[in-house]
């Protein structure tokens, strides 16, 4: 019974079907197309995000490695400087320093391998890019801004200052 009563309706639908299908199909394709373009857009964005992430991570990792290496090397440099001090103290006492010199040489080559170089200060003109002035001394015989004393050694790595030199700088006495 139910089937029978349903039948005519179904037939009626069937007769209408070709038109409806065409219309619906256009609708479906249209909505699929919209969906597809959204997906494509999302894919493109996800790809771009991923590429950005990759790029940023690469930079971040290399920055972190450099920072950590520099921190480590600066710690090492402190001990290296202690050895140099030991050497000059022992030299004054005319002790045998050959072995010590060997150690210092090895330490120096470790610094070289890591591209850590001391910043030159002796007789140079003060440059805030490399030097940190702790005080000034009046000296009219020198060109203004000449470094007269290095208070603490500074270092560069790949042309980047990892620790500026602390220096005392000459100043002309304006009264004279």
């Amino acid at each position: 019974m139910t089937e029978e009563t349903n039948q005519p309706e179904a037939t009626a639908e069937e007769t209408n079907q070709p038109e409806a299908t065409a219309e619906e199909e256009t609708k479906v394709t249209e909505s699929e197309r919209v969906k597809l373009s959204i997906c494509e857009d999302q894919l493109l964005r996800a790809k771009a995000d991923y590429q950005n992430l990759e790029r940023i991570s690469k930079i971040e990792i290399s920055q972190k490695v450099t920072l950590k290496t520099n921190q480590l090397m600066l710690g090492f440099v402190g001990i290296y400087e202690d050895f140099i001090r030991a050497k000059s103290a022992l030299e004054n006492e005319s002790a045998n320093i050959e072995g010590l010199e060997g150690i210092i040489k090895n330490m120096k080559s470790l610094l070289d391998e890591n591209h850590i170089e001391p910043i030159e200060t002796k007789g140079k003109i003060f440059d805030p890019k490399f030097h940190d002035a702790v005080s000034t001394v009046e000296d009219n015989s020198l060109e203004e801004g000449t470094i007269t004393q290095e208070v603490a050694k500074g270092y560069i790595s790949f042309q980047e200052v990892i620790k500026p030199s602390k220096v005392i700088v000459s100043k002309k006495n304006e009264k004279e």
């Binding site: 202690d82 103290a89 004054n92 940190d132 000034t136 500026p164 700088v169």
Partner: protein
């Protein structure tokens, strides 16, 4: 992606900046590198003897050599008429601050890889409208649109995520910096942070603590060895450096040792410094300095008219508050503090969070609304201030009051707009004044003058006075409370850009010079060592001449160096190409050397420069290049 907005903590002695990356605030490092101790950007501006602009770390480093042309703490002068006179030129405090912001902008752009045009900048809670406006102007001059000015304690609270709490809170922000202490009590509720009170000490901070530790170490050595290290600059610097390190270590361990071998020398030989420092000793050394913070806390609580038990949250800001001793002092005096954010970075992080909320990168449960920091009013008879909009009123807002004349037949009134909490006009800051004229003559007390204050979402104040009898009105717009005209701001902006342009030129000059020097070096090495016998004499002379030309140009500008460098490159290119053509390929390198010939015409000069010594090494980048091209 939404446009990036950065958050800037424009501090008195140091500034910091942060940006939201991947949903989290990230500190922006200064171009000078991150190994420099302390915050990224010292708030110092200087002009070198040659008139070059130095900002941040380089300016700090040269400060003692050039005190007359070095400006520190320009923040303290913001919003005043003060002028800095440097090398015959005058600068407003906001121009000096702009130089710092400009550097931050530049370094932020280098860090993020994006152009940065917008920023949120923080100011102390007690800043008045003039000071806030001056801060905004500084941003504009630096080429940054300041999308919001927020209070430093509010920013710090945001960094700790206190805006996520649903219940109403009373927050005490304890900000101990290098040289200043600021205590702020705020109330948070209904999406608004309201400042209840502020107090502080401008001569108290971490610098005093470092000095106390250094003095102790030097004193211990003097007691033991009888030598005064403070008279030896090198030794004193070593003590300073290791004292600071010891102080930081004592935040995580209970005991540390300062070990400085060969620090001094006397007739008996070299002397070593060895001082043990415990946390208890450190506590003892800085106890009196920490205790000096107490009155400021008490005053803030008293001014807020609350008791200690009413405080629900404590936020610590500033480097010295990392120390357990300082944290313990605060928790003993009030209660224990929030944790999880580095107190040195909290304000910049909070500014970045606010920037992220505005840019849509960060979601927040609350809408952080701006409030008027100070009461706005007008001057009335006898120099008395009549408040119209009370401080901490959420903006935008609009309020009005009706006044009358003070004398018979008075035909004009002057409306003087003032800002501040004091009852007398002279003790407050005047933001501007205007006249309402043509009031019909009438006995005093009869005319009705309605004065209306409108503050829009950007904090721009419109004041309108209207004669209710005639309907005639007059108004003033206070958007540039620092009284700088747009033309002035534009001019300063251009000036600031000029410096940026000069910086760029200088950098290019250095780059070109470096490239030239390094190319000369490699070429000389090539000619004199590696290919000494392989270069025909005629070409050798050509190269030598080109090197000489280039060397002579090095003292000139980059425009003069460039063509000489290109000329040398071309000659070297020609010679090496010729050489490789004639060279017998080493066994097994046949394929590569063929490619070499194929590519010789469009070969990048850079590669020739970097690897001229080795045939095989040189061939590799080429084969790479080939595969990329195909």
């Amino acid at each position: 992606m939404a446009e990036k907005i950065i958050g800037i903590d424009l501090g008195t002695s140091n500034s910091a900046a942060a940006v939201i990356q991947g949903g989290k605030p990230t500190l922006i490092p200064a171009a000078e590198g991150t190994t420099v101790a302390g915050k990224a950007f010292p708030s110092i501006v200087a002009f070198s003897k040659d008139g070059d602009l130095l900002v941040g770390e380089p300016a700090r480093r040269q400060a003692v050599t050039n005190p007359d042309n070095t400006i520190r703490e320009a923040k303290r002068k913001m919003g005043t008429e003060f002028m800095y006179k440097i090398q015959g030129k005058e600068y407003k405090p906001q121009q000096i601050s702009a130089f710092i912001l400009q550097k931050i902008k530049r370094d932020a752009e280098a860090f993020t890889g994006d152009t940065i045009n917008k920023a949120v900048i923080t100011v102390p809670a007690y800043f008045n409208d003039n000071q806030r406006q001056a801060t905004k102007d500084a941003g504009t001059i630096a080429g940054l649109e300041v999308v919001r000015i927020i209070n430093e304690p509010t920013a710090a609270s945001l960094a700790f995520g206190l805006d996520k709490n649903k219940e109403d809170m009373k927050i005490l922000v304890f900000d101990l910096g290098g040289g200043t202490l600021d205590v702020t009590i705020m109330e948070m509720g209904g999406g608004v942070f309201e400042v209840m009170s502020t107090s502080g000490d401008t001569q108290l901070g971490g610098v005093d603590m470092d000095q106390a530790i250094k003095d102790y170490v030097i004193d211990e050595f003097r007691k033991k060895e009888g030598i005064d290290l403070s008279s030896n600059a090198q030794a004193a610097e070593r003590v300073r450096e290791s004292s600071e390190k010891a102080k930081i270590e004592l935040s995580t361990v209970m005991e540390t040792e300062i070990n400085l071998p060969f620090i001094a020398q006397d007739s008996s030989g070299a002397k070593n410094l060895e001082v043990k420092l415990t946390r208890a000793k450190l506590d003892d050394l800085i106890h009196s300095i920490v205790q000096r913070c107490k009155p400021s806390i008490e005053k803030a609580i008293e001014d807020a008219k609350i008791s200690i038990s009413d405080i629900t949250k404590i936020v610590l800001v500033g480097g010295p508050t990392r120390m357990p001793i300082v944290r313990k002092f605060v928790s003993d005096t009030v209660k224990s503090a929030e944790s999880g954010v580095d107190p040195m970075e909290a304000v910049a992080f909070g500014a970045a969070v606010q920037a992220g909320i505005i840019a849509g990168d960060v979601t927040s449960d609350i809408v952080l609304l701006d409030v008027t920091p100070l009461t706005l009013g007008i001057e009335t008879l006898g120099g008395v201030r009549e408040p119209i909009i009370e401080r901490n009123t959420t903006i935008p807002t609009s309020k009005d009051k009706t006044f009358t004349t003070a004398a018979d037949s008075q035909t004009a009134v002057t409306i003087n707009v003032v800002q501040g909490e004091r009852p007398m006009v002279v003790d407050n800051v005047s933001l501007g004044s205007f006249n309402l004229t043509e009031i019909p003559p009438a006995p005093r007390g009869v005319p009705q003058i309605n004065v209306k204050f409108d503050i829009d979402a950007n904090g721009i104040i419109n004041v309108t006075a209207k004669d209710l009898g005639t309907g005639k009105d007059a108004k003033i717009t206070i958007e540039s409370a620092s009284k700088m005209s747009e033309a002035d701001v534009e001019k300063m902006k251009t000036d600031a850009e000029k410096f940026a342009e000069e910086d760029k030129k200088k950098k290019e000059q250095v780059d070109v010079k470096n490239e030239a020097e390094s190319f000369i070096y490699t070429t000389e090495k090539l000619v004199n060592q590696d290919l000494k016998d392989k270069i025909p004499q005629e070409q050798g002379i050509k190269i030598t001449d080109a090197i000489k030309d280039l060397k002579e140009s090095l003292t000139q500008g980059s425009e003069q160096i460039k063509p000489k460098l290109e000329a040398l490159k071309a000659i070297v290119n020609e010679v090496t190409t010729e050489l490789y053509k004639n060279a017998t390929p080493p066994p097994g390198a046949e394929q590569q050397s063929n490619q070499e010939q194929d590519n010789s015409s469009d070969q990048p000069t850079d590669e020739q420069k970097s690897n001229p010594e080795d045939n095989e090494e040189k061939a590799e980048p080429n084969s790479d290049q080939k595969s990329e091209n195909s």
